[in-house]
């Protein structure tokens, strides 16, 4: 195993162990780490939606961004960039969140749920893989969101700064309703997430990238990181008595399609929700816009009732997933055709 693969595997293990610890100290079961759920809660903490018990400004998100920011700065990899189809990225982030809230989990939580014995995550994984495969087809056809450009430093530092500010406001109890929501202690969440942010920045860990790079280049190193995450969570859940296998076909098609939307939008964006946070911490303004799209997507999903509950996938959610898949496909075809025309000119 080469050094890069070892680091990716170590990242998977670190995130998995952190998730287990966070659950042991108060985070909801199988939700030690979920980027979509935590961004949804942050959206609620800012009153962008009013869903009860979903309004805690989760420090894990701020920790990931700040960890990435710190290590990228130390390693001289921090670079303020943007200009690569910001508005398109906003809506792809929006749709990525919409899909995740129909399944109730980002790719990270999908693996955590799988490791906890939740059979619904199997359907989600199938959909996620199919979505990425479709994204890979578009990438091979020439899909690109275009190049970014170096910007003034403040364009890159503002996002980590806002994360720090929100973390302080959360600690002071000025935003969110932590008393309504199960959560681990603030500093434990923040520090563990910072550690994960540091190592994820170094390894370029990405749940979309794991499957995408194998399909495109037969490169397994990112995939092995995701696999390590699954294994450690599975073993941890069995040891801690949190492994409860269950499987049901109810709504399975919607879990498949919703995560296909997450996989497809993630492939077009170039990374999963976690990777977007890490990139935003490195100064990538396009990823910061994607994260903002996800936060708005969470608000809309709850304000218009398209987000699922643990047992019910709503009609609105189903429509949103279909519309999202059609939107991404049309977008990809339009961009590919435009690229081909430009190359022929």
């Amino acid at each position: 195993m080469d050094k890069t693969t070892k680091l990716t595997v170590l990242t998977g293990l670190t995130i998995g162990i952190s998730a287990l610890v966070l659950v042991a100290f108060g985070n909801p079961t199988n939700m030690g780490f979920c980027i979509a759920c935590f961004l949804r809660d942050i959206s609620g903490s800012l009153d962008l939606h009013r869903a009860p018990s979903l309004q805690y400004a989760r420090p894990e998100i701020f920790g990931l961004v700040l960890g990435s920011f710190i290590v990228a700065s130390i390693k001289k990899e921090f670079k303020a960039t943007s200009g690569s189809s910001g508005v398109v990225r906003f809506f792809l982030g929006f749709l990525m969140m919409s899909g995740a809230l129909v399944f109730l989990g980002c790719p990270l939580r999908m693996v955590l749920r799988l490791g906890g014995g939740d059979g619904k995550a199997i359907f989600a994984l199938i959909g996620f893989t199919l979505g990425i495969a479709l994204g890979c087809y578009f990438l091979n056809q020439g899909f690109t969101l275009g190049r970014s450009y170096t910007q003034k430093k403040e364009n890159g530092t503002i996002f980590p700064f806002i994360c720090l500010l929100l973390a302080v406001l959360c600690l002071l109890g000025l935003i969110g309703k932590p008393e309504e929501e199960a959560h681990a202690p603030f500093f434990l969440s923040l520090l563990l997430a910072m550690g994960c942010g540091v190592i994820a920045q170094r390894s370029r860990f990405c749940m979309v990238g794991g499957i995408r790079d194998y399909i495109l280049f037969r490169d397994k190193h990112l995939f092995l990181g995701s696999f390590a995450l699954f294994v450690v969570v599975l073993i941890g859940n069995i040891i801690l008595g949190n492994f409860h296998f269950s499987v049901s076909l109810t709504n399975s098609i919607w879990y498949t399609l919703s995560m296909a939307l997450v996989g497809l939008s993630g492939a077009l964006l170039g990374g999963c929700p976690l990777r977007q946070l890490i990139l935003a911490g490195e100064g990538n303004g396009d990823s910061a816009i994607t994260v903002l799209g996800m936060i708005v997507g969470a608000a809309i999903s709850h304000n218009f009732g398209t987000a699922s509950s643990p047992k019910v996938v709503t009609a609105g959610g189903k429509i949103e997933v279909i519309v999202g898949l059609v939107f991404c496909t049309i977008l990809a075809i339009v961009i590919i055709n435009k690229q081909k025309k430009e190359l022929n000119v």
Partner: protein, 69 residues
């Protein structure tokens, strides 16, 4: 000499472009990227495709010289 300009492009586009450039198995190719992740990814892919990789930093850019082994 095949030249690939992948500056400003996010993952995995620099590697996709490199893959296309190397599909005809050229003896030499040059790939220019401007971030460390792309530099690492292109290097790993080129080595897997049996190319020797030499690189130099020019301002904000990383220039990779790929030579078939």
């Amino acid at each position: 000499m095949i030249e690939v300009d992948a500056r400003g492009l996010s993952c995995p586009i620099p590697v996709v472009k490199t893959k296309k450039a190397l599909s005809g198995k050229p003896e030499k190719a040059t790939v220019t990227v401007d971030n460390v992740a792309a530099f690492e990814n292109v290097t790993r892919y080129a080595k897997a495709m049996k190319y020797e990789v030499e690189s130099k930093i020019s301002g904000e850019d990383y220039i990779l010289y790929l030579t078939k082994k």
